[in-house]
């Protein structure tokens, strides 16, 4: 597998004989048009360009998986645009800077527009608007029944008044919505009942409003921000026609189903900062944040059908309640500069998160006529963090740093299923982590820099079996950087073991990378990179299989990912540009899939074997691309681009696809 990858890569390397910023999408085109200095009009300078064209795609194989990974479609697009207007003396009447950039407008799955409008000394306005189409194609997770075709729209608006004064005022607004059709699942009528796919109409909205000020007083900077987040979700679920469920050997059926669950609330929050670095020997940075967080909800579910014994069932569940999560957070950092080149910092932080909620659960059904009970859950996490670091430039060519970090956390929980506090189950535990860091940086000569770093840590009581307990990490990086050539190589290894009585977990992660970037001429550049990411984890697991409890089994996960990219950019007689790029990422796993593949549909085989089969997913994902751009006139370019995507899994072909995408466009300015 690995050999095949490299033979492919070698062929491409030789074939291209060169470079470029691979992995970005082929469009929009980065080649400029018009005068880089722009055009002057009255007291302003204008620089602008617009790229408009047609995207196309042709997909063979699993279209859903393509939409999940890539999702570019057909149609006319404003692929990119930019407009920058600057006042020439910084004394514009209404504004001094206007910058507008867009990408993908006109139904690309990823659209963006950013705007900055600024008048020196008076105001600054920033806007960022983004749209992302999210397509979840019902992949293997959840039995392939969870599907979503939603669109997320995000917008942020921020106004700063008096941006250059010692008193600055801020106001902002953000909005985040997600909507679209989806398939969800539910399981009923008892804990062994069948699962049913349901249609849902996703409707989520979050608005955030914020105001703040910054003031400089007596050499100190003080800032206070107040915000209010409002969230509303009202995503109904329903069944449009009777369903026999997902499992044919289960008698559970559903004749009708409806669920509504309005959920809304707000998270008011405060943020306070105090900061000073006016002295030559000390800087102090303090921060306090508090956020409230409350959600109210009601839940009404009504289902009718037959249970797994074939009995007629009808059930209604009514729940109402609320949940709260106040979070308090304080941090103070002292930085001391005892001598030139030496910086000592101590950062102390305190966090307290309290999550609590209650509800009243009421069920009405035709078998037991119904019941009602109260539920309460509390989870409190209080942590204290102290991090001391020293960073010392010992010589011009030598730097050192070291640090000691300590954290202590107390987790408390209360679980209660009646309104009697005496029924509550409470628990409390303390965790501590000690870790030490050290690093050294060399610069034997100007273009070459080398750094080494290490971290070792111990936790006395991790919260989860896969959390870090006895861990250490080693890293190294070397970089040679001259005017036209950059070479870099890095390696990092992280190890963790988390073993307690009768249980063991270990993980090893290693990442190696090398990059080269060469631009000897204005008309030629080359970039190439290779990374290998290795991860293996071994965890003790326990489960039930075929009526018996399996203890002491192991979950072994091995991942070996090779990733490469290269690109070449070639300018032809200052008139045309050719860009060729290639990226490939390949998971080779460890070869177990073919050896241990279980018989299709097996329900009686060894669960252990099934684990091994499921824990490796060898696959390849590659994307060659090419773009040709030619200057037709000084202010007009024509572009033609093509990008191919190929996704192939070794084990199953169901999700494989090949996609031909491309575009043709003109970039123009006037």
């Amino acid at each position: 597998m690995k050999g095949r990858m490299f033979s492919h890569a070698a062929v491409v390397l030789i074939g291209l004989a060169g470079v470029c910023l691979a992995q970005t999408t082929v469009a929009p085109s980065p080649e400029p048009v018009g005068r880089s200095r722009g055009e002057d009009y009255r007291n302003y300078n204008f620089v602008h360009s617009f790229e408009t064209g047609y995207r196309f795609r042709s997909v063979g194989g699993n279209l859903g998986k393509y939409r999940s990974d890539v999702n570019f479609g057909n149609g006319v697009r404003l692929l990119a645009s930019s407009l920058a207007v600057n006042s020439k003396e910084g004394q514009g009447r209404l504004f001094d800077q206007f910058t507008l950039n867009t990408q993908g407008l006109g139904e690309d799955p990823y659209q963006m527009a950013s705007l900055r409008l600024e008048k020196n000394k008076l105001y600054r306005y920033d806007m960022l608007w983004r749209v992302s189409d999210y397509y979840n194609p019902a992949l293997a997770i959840s039995g392939g029944q969870r599907l979503a075709d939603t669109r997320r729209r995000v917008q942020d608006h921020d106004v700063t008044l008096l941006p250059q004064s010692s008193l600055r005022l801020f106001a902002g607004f953000s909005r985040n919505t997600q909507d679209g059709p989806a398939l969800a699942t539910t399981q009923l009528f008892d804990s062994r009942g069948d699962e049913f796919p349901l249609f849902s109409d996703v409707r989520r909205t979050q608005n955030e409003y914020r105001v703040g000020l910054e003031a400089r007083v007596l050499g100190m900077k003080f800032a206070a921000f107040r915000g209010w987040e409002k969230f509303t979700e009202d995503t109904p679920l329903r069944l449009d026609s009777a369903s026999a469920g997902n499992n044919s050997d289960d008698q559970t059926t559903l004749a009708s189903f409806r669920r509504t669950e309005p959920y809304q609330g707000s998270t008011p929050h405060w943020r306070l900062h105090l900061f000073t670095e006016n002295h030559d020997w000390l800087a102090v940075n303090a921060r306090f944040t508090y956020s409230g967080g409350r959600r109210d909800f009601a839940f009404d579910e009504n289902g009718a059908g037959t249970d797994r014994f074939g009995r007629a069932r009808s059930r209604q569940i009514l729940v109402a309640g609320n949940a709260r999560r106040p979070v308090t957070n304080g941090a103070v950092t002292f930085s001391v500069f005892p001598s030139r080149g030496l910086v000592l910092t101590n950062h102390t932080a305190f966090h307290h998160v309290r999550v609590e909620g209650d509800n009243t659960y009421q069920e009405i059904n035709n078998l037991t006529s119904g019941f009602r009970f109260f539920q309460f859950r509390y989870l409190g996490v209080r942590s204290f963090v102290n991090q001391s670091d020293a960073n010392w430039r010992a010589r011009k060519w030598l730097g050192l740093y070291g640090g000691y970090h300590y954290s202590k956390r107390r987790i408390r929980s209360i679980e209660q299923f009646s309104e009697q506090p005496s029924d509550a189950t409470a628990a409390s535990q303390d965790n501590r982590i000690h870790s030490g860091l050290a690093g050294i940086r060399f610069q034997p000569n100007k273009p070459l820099s080398i750094s080494l770093d290490a971290e070792v840590g111990r936790a006395d009581r991790p919260f989860f079996p896969i959390s870090e307990r006895n861990f250490h990490a080693l890293g190294a990086r070397a970089q040679y950087k001259s005017r036209s050539l950059t070479l870099a190589a890095s390696t990092r290894a992280s190890y963790n073991t988390n073993s307690v009585s009768l249980f063991a977990h270990s993980s090893r992660a290693r990442a190696h990378a090398a990059d080269a970037s060469w631009a000897p001429k204005a008309w030629f550049s080359f970039d190439a990179g290779y990374s290998k990411l290795h991860l293996d984890t071994l965890s003790g697991i326990a489960y039930f299989a075929s009526g018996r409890q399996v203890l002491g089994d192991e979950s072994l996960y091995v991942s070996n990912i090779h990733s490469g990219n290269l690109g070449v950019r070639l300018g032809i007689r200052n008139r045309a540009d050719l860009y060729l790029g290639y990226s490939r990422v390949q998971e080779t796993g460890d070869g177990r899939a073919r050896l241990d593949a279980p018989p299709t549909g097996s329900r009686t085989g060894s669960a252990s074997t099934l684990f091994r089969f499921a824990q490796t997913l060898p696959l390849e994902f590659e994307s060659p691309q090419g773009r040709f751009s030619v200057r037709i006139r000084n202010k007009l370019r024509w572009n033609l681009g093509y990008q191919h995507y190929r996704y192939r899994e070794d084990s199953l072909a169901l999700q494989d696809y090949r996609a031909h995408t491309g575009y043709t466009s003109v970039v123009w300015s006037f």
Partner: protein, 307 residues
């Protein structure tokens, strides 16, 4: 930084004032710089630093070329030369940081820069920002943001090339949506361990919740892994070869590696709850945990996240 260490407030004041008075005469003004550096000056009005010139009321050490490069008199008299002026290409990383922070220290988002892992690795302002030749529309970045970050974080570039990933290469997101490259306070999750310059949402929450608002909660029944150790317990945030950015190809292996009932783990210190005996893992039906445990990020109704 420098230690002054002069005893007595009068002596200290004199020491501060005298060099300042001498220095004021050493500033020549930006118009002189323009004579030899017209290429830089011609476009400088588009530069964010031009505000200091346009303001017209700032002292010479806070305006124009000399606010960063220091007094230019010696440089002019020597008819140029990097040795006669504060040339950033010759400065040590710490000096670059000090020079920029002389003004930018007042910006709250940069208040943790002294202890950031970038600073500890000698990645300072000029490593990412190009003051005179920035091709980026904002923030004077030396390159497109992703290329800047990938330049050192090649492993991250590889993660964003994977099939399941956040849309950074596609232009929908940027690294700074989740990270503050200038340093952050220690995060409130994972006991502040290895913060990775992660930014926070709504003052103190994980950056993931900036966009994934439906996962924020609060819920009556929170999945403790989300609140205690964070989203990274189950997901690889940059990219993954597995669907849904999951750390394992199949969801049940993600779940079972924690839910094994072993040790002193979990909320009540008696192990993370093992699945019920009704779950026959030999039956493929029970390997799709989130089909039934559909509200795995948190539920208001059911402690087992069934609805």
């Amino acid at each position: 930084m420098k230690g002054v260490g002069a005893p007595g407030s009068l002596v200290r004041l004199l020491l501060l004032l005298l060099p300042a008075a001498a220095a004021a005469a050493d500033y020549v003004g930006g118009a002189v710089c323009k004579t030899c550096h017209p290429d830089i000056w011609q476009n400088f009005y588009k530069n964010a630093h031009y505000k200091s010139v346009a303001a017209g009321d700032l002292p010479p050490e806070r305006t124009g070329c000399e606010s960063c490069h220091g007094p230019g008199k010696a440089h002019v008299e020597a008819r140029g030369g990097k040795a006669t002026i504060r040339a950033f290409s010759l400065m040590e990383p710490q000096q670059v940081l000090d020079a920029c922070l002389a003004c930018h220290v007042r910006d709250i988002p940069r208040s943790n820069i002294r202890r950031s892992s970038h600073t500890q690795s000698d990645v300072v302002c000029a490593s990412c920002h190009s003051i005179h030749k920035s091709p980026a529309p904002k923030y004077l970045l030396a390159k497109k943001q992703t290329e800047l970050c990938y330049g050192c974080h090649a492993g991250v570039r590889a993660q964003f090339a994977m099939p399941s990933k956040h849309r950074v290469n596609e232009g929908f997101m940027a690294c700074t949506d989740c990270h503050n490259p200038h340093g952050t306070a220690s995060p409130s999750w994972r006991m502040g361990l290895r913060p990775r310059l992660a930014d926070t949402a709504l003052a103190n929450e994980q950056a993931c919740l900036k966009c994934h608002t439906d996962k924020r909660g609060p819920f009556v029944f929170e999945h403790p892994s989300v609140r205690v150790d964070g989203c990274e317990s189950c997901h690889s945030p940059h990219g993954s070869m597995n669907p849904r950015l999951l750390k394992r190809p199949a969801v049940f292996t993600v779940c079972l590696e924690c839910h094994n009932g072993a040790g002193t783990f979990g909320r009540q210190g008696d192990g993370v709850k093992m699945q019920s005996s009704t779950h026959n893992m030999a039956d493929p039906r029970y390997r799709n945990c989130t089909t039934c445990h559909a509200r795995i990020h948190g539920s208001n109704v059911d402690s087992l996240f069934l609805r």
